[in-house]
């Protein structure tokens, strides 16, 4: 049977039965996440993401370049992938030129860059927003910063401005859908990749990054 026929059949079966009107929630039982004051948001995000084993490095916005240079010295990745569209791309290039880390700009299609990326030690991406409620980074990959950047290399450095931290997931989702179309991909990240599939023992870095380092500009 073709997909079209199946569609008709399924919809007609569903249409033959009229369920009652949608139930409503009594107002005293309606849930929404508590909204935090701006001052509490950063603290909540830091606490929650640290609990998920993300490393948070806080730095005054003015000193972010020094902080990033220090971070790279500490982690010492041989190679660092980045998206040429990131707001910090230019400064990063200058910074890398003076360091022992080789720059790997993700500037061509995955078909050509994929193998390089699978061999890259670390990556750096910008972050669209932070979510205080759950402790999460909102990444919106696109032409300037492709999807695989934050996924494939074993260390992921994420640059987040504290002023971009919102209170709740609901708030973050609202901004995402307020434009005309959603971005082709939106990913929320709370920390390094992990699993508990063997005896419920937590292990990090199963498929995605083993380390997530958030450079938090305040």
């Amino acid at each position: 049977m073709s997909s079209q026929d199946a569609r008709e059949q399924i919809l007609s079966r569903l249409g033959a039965h009229k369920p009652g009107p949608p139930p409503t929630v009594a107002p005293h039982l309606a849930w929404s996440a508590p909204v935090l004051a701006p001052a509490e948001r950063t603290a909540s995000l830091v606490k929650r993401m640290e609990a998920m084993r993300a490393e948070i490095r806080r730095t005054p916005e003015k000193k972010w370049k020094e902080a990033l240079a220090q971070l790279l010295t500490d982690k010492g990745p041989a190679t660092l992938a980045y998206g040429p569209g990131a707001w910090f791309a230019k400064d990063l290039k200058t910074l890398l030129a003076k360091s022992n880390t080789e720059a790997k700009p993700y500037a061509e299609d995955a078909e050509h860059f994929r193998d390089t990326l699978f061999g890259t030690a670390a990556s750096i991406t910008s972050v669209q927003a932070g979510i205080a409620e759950t402790g999460a980074l909102v990444l919106i990959p696109g032409p300037g910063e492709p999807r695989l950047l934050s996924l494939v290399p074993p260390v992921h450095i994420a640059v987040l401005r504290a002023s971009d931290i919102v209170s709740t997931l609901a708030e973050a989702l609202e901004t995402l859908s307020s434009g005309t179309t959603m971005a082709s991909n939106v990913v929320l990240v709370t920390g390094p990749s992990k699993t508990a599939d063997i005896e419920l023992t937590l292990a990090f870095g199963v498929h995605g990054p083993k380390e997530v380092v958030v450079l938090l500009l305040e």
Partner: protein, 476 residues
């Protein structure tokens, strides 16, 4: 094991109960999962609100299911996602194979998808020379051993680390024997990264599909789901039609309930929202995204005013983690894709009461399942209904195999009982006889089976009615 027409539930239960290691593995894991769930919902009032809200969101989506599916389809198509509809598992499998063939794809990496377990996709693809590789760590482990998931969230939970160590040592080339979980994890990582890099296509399930925006939402901790949906040139998403929700704003309560109930997390490591394939100018992401909408019995559930509540299920696994039967026998004993309380409700409806109606008997009706179900599905009520369906029901029934458990002996027994109850004189005589002989009735046949796990009740020499007649009623 699945869809086995000769499935013998009793034998399967006996086998599970005879394996002390299995019991131990489940007891440990389920205790752990229950503790985590409790810890993440410390505030009873908030949990009550979350559940009421979650239930309402899913119920609202179901109340306009056909409309939302059409809207989802339209928005997906607008976004460049190709939408396919399948009434049965076989149809879905054939469609997926067609998509793969159109790309000459023979290597498929798979993220976790219970719907693909329903359709038996792996087996089907292998028969057609496509390698379908499970990449979720738990799924990967059991695939190596040719097993099926024993839990919907932690599929390899029936194995302890020694057993996983043996599996890896046996199946992965050059893998040394180690019981170190981190090392086992590293071995899987190494093997699978190569597979992700070279796969021709990726397949995933869908946790929620948002009609308003045409967005597929996937939750996961490992990153294998992102690998499967972002790295290969083609991504196929397979979802049951019950997964659609109306708006993006419906997600927060559902996500909180899902991750909290399943693994005790505030949120999973990744929340992956896919709205379109690679767009103009983008450097990665699949060039094609396909969405396969699967019915496979769901429209039948939908038509039943009571049992349709089962379609609210968000597959969190909490009902099984808290089920005293599941915890003792594990998921394989059920011989079905979905085990535990929700499995005992869904499977008989999907596969027929004649084939799987017995599953509903595997419950003490203690109600622990519905006490934890995040979307308030009245599971115990549904279990009772499925049991009753076995005996048949009045006309408007949609349940497959309704009445198939009714036996002549049982029908006669009920008739005899009714006759007795409407003939007090005979009833009285028989009761007196039973009182005299009661303890000497030999335990044979069904009585023997019944008393094998229960204490035979002692029959009093005089019935209550008789006592009342003789002594009157004392009011005090």
């Amino acid at each position: 094991m699945h869809n086995d027409p000769h499935f013998d539930f009793t034998a399967s239960l006996e086998k599970a109960l005879a394996d002390p290691q299995l019991g131990e593995n489940f007891k440990n894991a389920m205790t752990g999962l229950r503790g985590k769930r409790l810890a993440i919902f410390p505030d009873a009032d908030e949990l009550a609100k979350l559940r009421a809200t979650g239930k309402a969101v899913k119920a609202r989506a179901l109340s306009k299911l056909p409309e939302l599916l059409v809207r989802l389809e339209a928005n997906c198509v607008k976004n460049g996602i190709r939408v396919h509809w399948a009434q049965t598992g076989e149809e879905a499998n054939a469609m997926i194979l067609d998509i793969l063939r159109a790309h000459g794809a023979t290597r498929l990496v798979k993220g976790k998808s219970m719907a693909s377990e329903e359709t038996g996709l792996n087996h089907y693809l292998e028969k057609h020379d496509v390698e379908a590789l499970e990449t979720d760590l738990g799924e990967f482990i059991i695939q190596l051993d040719g097993e099926t998931p024993s839990h919907i969230i932690v599929p390899a939970v029936h194995k302890n680390k020694k057993q996983v160590a043996e599996t890896f040592h046996r199946h992965l080339p050059g893998a040394p024997y180690t019981e170190d979980v981190q090392e086992l994890n590293a071995m899987a990582r190494k093997t699978l990264r190569e597979k992700f890099r070279t796969a021709h296509a990726g397949l995933s399930g869908v946790n929620f599909a948002v009609a308003e925006t045409g967005t597929l939402v996937l939750v996961e901790n490992e990153g294998n789901g992102r690998m499967c949906t972002h790295v290969p040139p083609v991504h196929i998403a397979l979802m049951g039609i019950d997964k659609v929700v109306e708006n993006l704003s419906d997600l927060p309560p559902l996500l909180r309930l899902l991750t909290g109930s399943a693994t005790g997390q505030l949120m999973t490591t990744y929340l992956n929202c896919i709205t379109s394939p690679r767009r103009e100018g983008e450097k990665d992401g699949p060039k094609e995204v396909h969405l396969v909408l699967l019915d496979n019995g769901r429209t039948r559930l939908f038509a039943d005013p009571q049992l349709s509540a089962g379609l609210r299920c968000i597959r969190c696994g909490a009902c099984m983690n808290n089920c005293p039967v599941y915890v003792r026998v594990g998921g394989h004993a059920y011989g079905s894709v979905y085990p535990g309380p929700i499995g005992s409700v869904l499977t008989p409806q999907f596969e027929g009461i004649d084939a799987k109606g017995d599953l509903a008997g595997a419950s003490s009706l203690c109600g622990a399942c519905e006490e934890v179900c995040p979307v308030l599905i009245p599971l115990a009520e549904h279990l009772r209904r499925i049991r009753a369906e076995g005996q048949g029901c009045p006309d408007t029934c949609h349940v497959r195999g309704c009445g198939s458990k009714r036996t002549l002996a049982e029908t006669l027994a009920w008739k005899a009982w009714a006759f007795l109850e409407s003939n007090p004189w005979l009833r009285e005589r028989l009761l007196r006889l039973a009182g005299l002989l009661g303890d000497r009735i030999p335990a044979v046949g069904p009585l023997k089976a019944w008393t094998s796990a229960r204490t035979t009740p002692k029959l009093a020499p005089k019935s209550l009615r008789q006592l009342v007649r003789e002594e009157g009623i004392r009011h005090e």
